[in-house]
Amino acid sequence: MTTCTECGADVALHDDAEAGEIVDCTTCGAELEVIDVSPPVLEKAPELEEDWGE
């Protein structure tokens, strides 16, 4: 169990989570990168620019 860097909510990591994996916070939806697993450290994942082409 660790904390979302965006909204502060608890984020549950599954047992075999690995560094580099991207999870999302189920409270705010932020994409978080697993930086470390023991203890778990999360960081906001770099955002993919959505291209709307205008």
């Binding site: 965006e6 909204c7 502060g8 909510a9 999302d24 916070c25 409270t27 705010c28 939806g29 932020a30 994409e31 994942a45 993919l48």
Partner: protein
């Protein structure tokens, strides 16, 4: 969330009986649907003058197979709870009859939403029963839960007001709204206009629109101001959906605000709310509140984005106008008032994919 039964209605032993005035309309139809699937209520009567004698399923397809038929509003029998889903003005005129018939009246119109006669003079065409305004309680549990138990009259909020209030209430509570300038730009679906019809709301004219229909002076401003302690600049647009109200609130706080402040305000207010979902950024196709993600449900989605360069907070709030913005809010409030499980009858979580529900 369930509490001990309170109020005047006895819910201990058996189903609580409920009737609906205005059951052939859009909001009344939702009440029918929600109460039909509710574990605690038993439907008694559903009124319609136009369809009296016909089965409720002949108007509302989801109720096909149900034996209940519409009756005349004049033939109302005694019941535990009376839901009224009539146009503005009807409930204030009949409130004495309605209260004779039921210990709890839950009204979906604007007739008992405001606190004072003066507000009705300013925003509506006055009030014919101002002495009852005191006893009525605003339904929205997120802002008024503690006053619902024991209420005699509950007034379900306006749909646009509900979307706006849910979006801004955490900021108001956190003091972030104090002295702020606020613009509220709303987009709503066609069910907001009720079941009537008319040339402007015909499919051919109403399809595909982004149509300003209340550029200024919308009556819901009164409710919003009442609950936020703050006036807002409000503009409404009709867009091409049937269900849904989406409020984009552009807030310019008086002083600096951080993302952390915002999350604290919103999570503090809503983390324990069964019907409010935060949706702020994130990934995938659904990043911010969207009405179609909550269509058919009693959920509200609320989210925000900080616009540092303009010292602005953009708050998004999305609901289904006939559920959270009307019939669902009414049932939710009744659940609270009667000590039922708050989510009873309101469990439907929505559909994906879904078009324009």
């Amino acid at each position: 969330m369930a509490a001990t039964p309170t109020g005047d209605v006895d819910v201990d032993t058996e189903a609580v009986s409920a009737s609906i005035v205005g059951a052939s309309g859009f909001a009344g139809g939702e009440l029918l649907r929600l109460l039909a699937g509710h574990p605690e209520f038993e439907l008694s009567q559903a009124t319609s003058r136009e369809y009296a004698g016909k089965s409720v399923g002949s108007v509302h397809p989801p109720l096909r197979g149900t034996d209940l038929r519409f009756s005349q509003p004049g033939d109302l029998e005694s019941v535990d709870v009376l839901f009224t889903a009539t146009p503005h003005g009807v409930t204030m005129e009949h409130i004495d009859d309605y209260q004779d018939a039921a210990e709890l009246v839950v009204d979906l119109s604007a007739d008992f939403r405001l606190d004072t006669e003066a507000q009705y003079d300013e925003w509506y065409d006055g009030h014919s029963c101002p002495e009852k305004l005191d006893v009525a309680q605003y339904a929205l549990p997120e802002v008024n839960r503690e006053n619902l138990a024991g209420a005699d009259v509950i007034a379900s909020g306006g749909c646009n007001a509900t979307a706006t209030i849910l979006g801004l209430y955490p900021l108001a509570e956190a003091g972030i709204l104090d002295g702020a300038d606020v613009v509220v730009d709303v987009k709503v679906g066609s069910s907001e206009g009720g079941a009537g019809g008319g040339a402007a709301s015909s499919h051919a004219e109403r399809s595909g629109v982004v149509r300003p229909y209340a550029p200024t002076g919308h009556r819901h401003e009164a409710e919003i101001e009442q609950w936020l302690g703050q006036s807002v600049s409000f503009t409404c647009h009709a867009v091409d959906m049937v269900r849904g109200a989406s409020a984009t609130c552009h807030v310019f706080p008086d002083g600096p605000v951080s993302n952390g402040d915002l999350w604290k305000a919103y999570r503090g207010e809503y983390d324990d709310e069964p019907f409010v979902r935060m949706q702020a950024g994130g990934s995938g196709t659904y990043r911010y509140p969207e009405p179609k993600a909550v269509a058919g449900t009693n959920h509200a989605e609320v989210g925000f984005e900080l616009d540092a360069s303009n010292e602005r907070v953009v708050v998004f709030s999305a609901i289904d106008n006939v559920v959270k913005g009307s019939a669902g809010q009414a049932v939710h409030a009744a659940n609270v008032a009667l000590g039922f499980e708050e989510t009873a009858g309101l469990e439907f979580a929505g559909l994906h994919p879904v078009g324009s529900p």
